[in-house]
Assembly symmetry: C2
Homo-oligomer: 301 residues x 2
């Protein structure tokens, strides 16, 4: 039994990561700045890591052997450019220093495909250039570089899971999938863009399980956490139409696309598959159907 | 008259940078964690920027239009690998956020040739790869990336002066030039390595003046701050022998060199010369003679 601290544990990816770690038999300590339900299987710790003393106090309270750091600023529409990204760099460095000082052995942190220069179709950890175009991407990429340098110095293991695009239960309501699903389930029109851009979508439960698997492995460095399969956003939206039975409400092209959107963002998942040994469990159509069912239940309640 | 805040103002490079800014007619506010002499031309501010509240309080007190951020951990023999580098990343981000929030317009920060992958002889800002091999280099490189992303977002100007190798009055006693000069002036043997490695040495007064010139320019991004001329370390040591008249005390090869030392580190100074319009004033032999004279005076006192 390994004592694991998960930050951002009540978040979209943190939450299924906690579930996967519990299933793996670990002693899970979950930290969150938000209120959470009591759960006898998990030790919850309230912590706002942006407060200068919080990381030290949290680490002192838990003294984790492993750390899964998922907490970050993620407000839809704002996180790309927000100076809060820099506060999260600082918070993450404080957390890593405290973790190392307390004898921590292995840490996995959440990265992003926005660390890559968006200049190709398929992104491999081995050869895709790291040249983030956004403050969010720069903050994550710098945090990775600093954490890796610190870990090498301190002699601990660090891996970095680079998330691409996600969907699934618990996603913020204003994001694409929930907003379309909710409109369709309520019988309202759902205006969307042409949706030609191809993205790599992974079910969030798979993403959480992939982080748990990465943490339990001895793989170091950056690992794409994604499905490895590209789908046009329009196709994803059509799956939402099919799963709700209200596809006629979708208004393709009613919203203007963004000119600076890259045409394709697909992960090379060779490291995740072959080195971590992880395979996702949810095919897209089935995962979308689950997600629609989750929203249907929620809206009915 | 521009109100300028200089951090690390009592440091090796900060000190001559303050001198150059005063000569340029600016209103100079100098911040340092160390005690300093009273000086009617400069407003001194005591600040330990590693304290979480210090940056905000300092910026609030000064409300600078320009910022020259030279403060960092620099203890000889320790700074390459120290976790304190990460605390300086955090401190620098706090400082930049406070500077921007208070209406600051232009900032220049101190970088290092250790940001580059040491894989060539001459390093240009335009095409040399950024792949630091040390925690210090990673911390500086990440700070640059984050500061540039933040500045682009906030609409302020940022430049980044990449220092190579320095010599001159005020250098820490344990470093190469002072330790050899002091030995020779005291009539003691000075054991040194073979000194085949070629480095770009700049007089610290020139480095300070170059930072002041960069701050007063409208150049953005990374600029090498160096002489553009390579000299073998052995040749530099021979100049010390000549300037002291005690060259016979130098024991070349008595110390083992480091196996991982790159053969050559020379700056391409095209940006500094052509875009900033700066030319160093000290030729090496003359600058070394000045430095020896400074130590002679100090040892006699």
């Amino acid at each position: 039994v390994t004592r694991v601290l998960v930050t951002g544990a009540s978040g979209f990816v943190g939450s299924p990561a906690v579930t996967a770690l519990l299933a793996g038999g670990h002693e899970v300590h979950a930290a969150s700045s938000r209120p959470h339900d009591a759960d006898t299987a998990i030790s919850w710790h309230a912590a706002d890591l942006l407060q200068p003393q919080a990381a030290g106090q949290l680490i002192e309270a838990v003294r984790p052997e492993w750390l899964l750091h998922m907490a970050w600023y993620a407000e839809h529409g704002r996180f790309w450019d927000s100076p809060l990204n820099l506060e999260w760099v600082e918070a993450t460095l404080r957390l890593m220093r405290a973790f190392i000082a307390a004898g921590g052995r292995r840490a996995v942190l959440a990265g992003t495909c926005a660390e890559y220069a968006w200049d190709r179709e398929i992104y491999s950890e081995h050869d895709a250039a790291l040249a983030p175009a956004t403050l969010y991407g720069a903050a994550k990429n710098s945090t990775r570089a600093l954490t890796e340098a610190l870990a090498a110095e301190a002699g601990i293991d660090v891996a970095w899971g680079r998330l691409f695009f996600l969907y699934g239960p618990g996603e913020a309501q204003t994001r694409l999938v929930p907003s379309v699903v909710r409109a369709l389930l309520c019988g309202e029109p759902a205006p969307v863009t042409e949706g030609d851009q191809v993205r790599d979508f992974m079910h969030v439960a798979d993403a959480g399980a992939a982080f748990a698997a990465l943490l339990a492995s001895d793989v170091r460095g950056a690992v794409n956490i994604a499905s490895g399969t590209g789908v046009a956003v329009r196709q994803l939206v059509e799956l939402l139409g099919a799963a709700t039975g209200r596809g006629e409400l979708i208004q393709v092209g009613a919203l203007a696309g963004r000119a600076d959107e890259p045409a394709s963002l697909i992960a090379d998942v060779g490291r995740l598959r072959d080195e971590v040994g992880f395979a996702p469990r949810h095919a897209l159509a089935e995962g979308i159907a689950d997600t629609v069912a989750w929203w249907r239940e929620r809206l009915a309640a």
